[in-house]
Amino acid sequence: DVKVTQSSRYLVKRTGEKVFLECVQDMDHENMFWYRQDPGLGLRLIYFSYDVKMKEKGDIPEGYSVSREKKERFSLILESASTNQTSMYLCASSPLSEQYFGPGTRLTVT
């Protein structure tokens, strides 16, 4: 079974802090994704990566950056957290078509 893990299930940070969300997959997938999920808005793609050190902007990249130094690990960085980044963050990996999701990190920025 594919396993995608995320470093924290719940996280509380203060405005202005730098926040790192980590995602690890164990299936040697080329592609990895970061989404945020908000009520009524569904899933919105922040960034994705199709190879080590490669990244592409998704639909809502503003205020975020990413890092992929190893194939299995994809990090999402909030350079200076703001209250409007309070959300559920979901990581996924994919060989090509279907995506496999981690359990999510619920981030609250106060």
């Binding site: 569904g42 994705f48 078509s97």
Partner: protein, 113 residues
């Protein structure tokens, strides 16, 4: 550009009744289609997928979906729901040869006794 419309934000239904969750998509190219389920405070789990071949696709937990190219639809059905099917369901479309997916806004299925 692709888009996905899930026509109902909530679908209330009684236990053991049939249910259909509707999904329409727009795309100008060959597509892959998916249904995912999300239980409270969890990630998304793949229910079923259409990549090619038979237009009737069976998935886990007794769900099935039918790909209708002429109507650009991929509706999800179950003949008899259980309380444990209460969850949010997401339809997604991908383009053949690419890994990104476009998701609908979700449909909350509420099953009551």
């Amino acid at each position: 550009a692709q888009s996905v419309t899930q026509l109902d934000s909530q679908v209330p239904v009684f236990e053991e009744a049939p249910v259909e969750l509707r999904c329409n998509y727009s795309s100008s190219v060959s597509v892959y289609l998916f249904w995912y389920v999300q239980y409270p405070n969890q990630g998304l789990q793949l229910l079923l997928k259409y990549l090619s071949g038979s237009t009737l696709v069976k998935g886990i937990n007794g769900f099935e979906a039918e790909f209708n190219k002429s109507q650009t639809s991929f509706h999800l059905r179950k003949p008899s729901v259980h309380i444990s099917d209460t969850a949010e369901y997401f339809c997604a479309v991908g383009e053949s040869g690419y890994s990104t997916l476009t998701f609908g806004k979700g449909t909350m299925l509420l099953v009551s006794p």
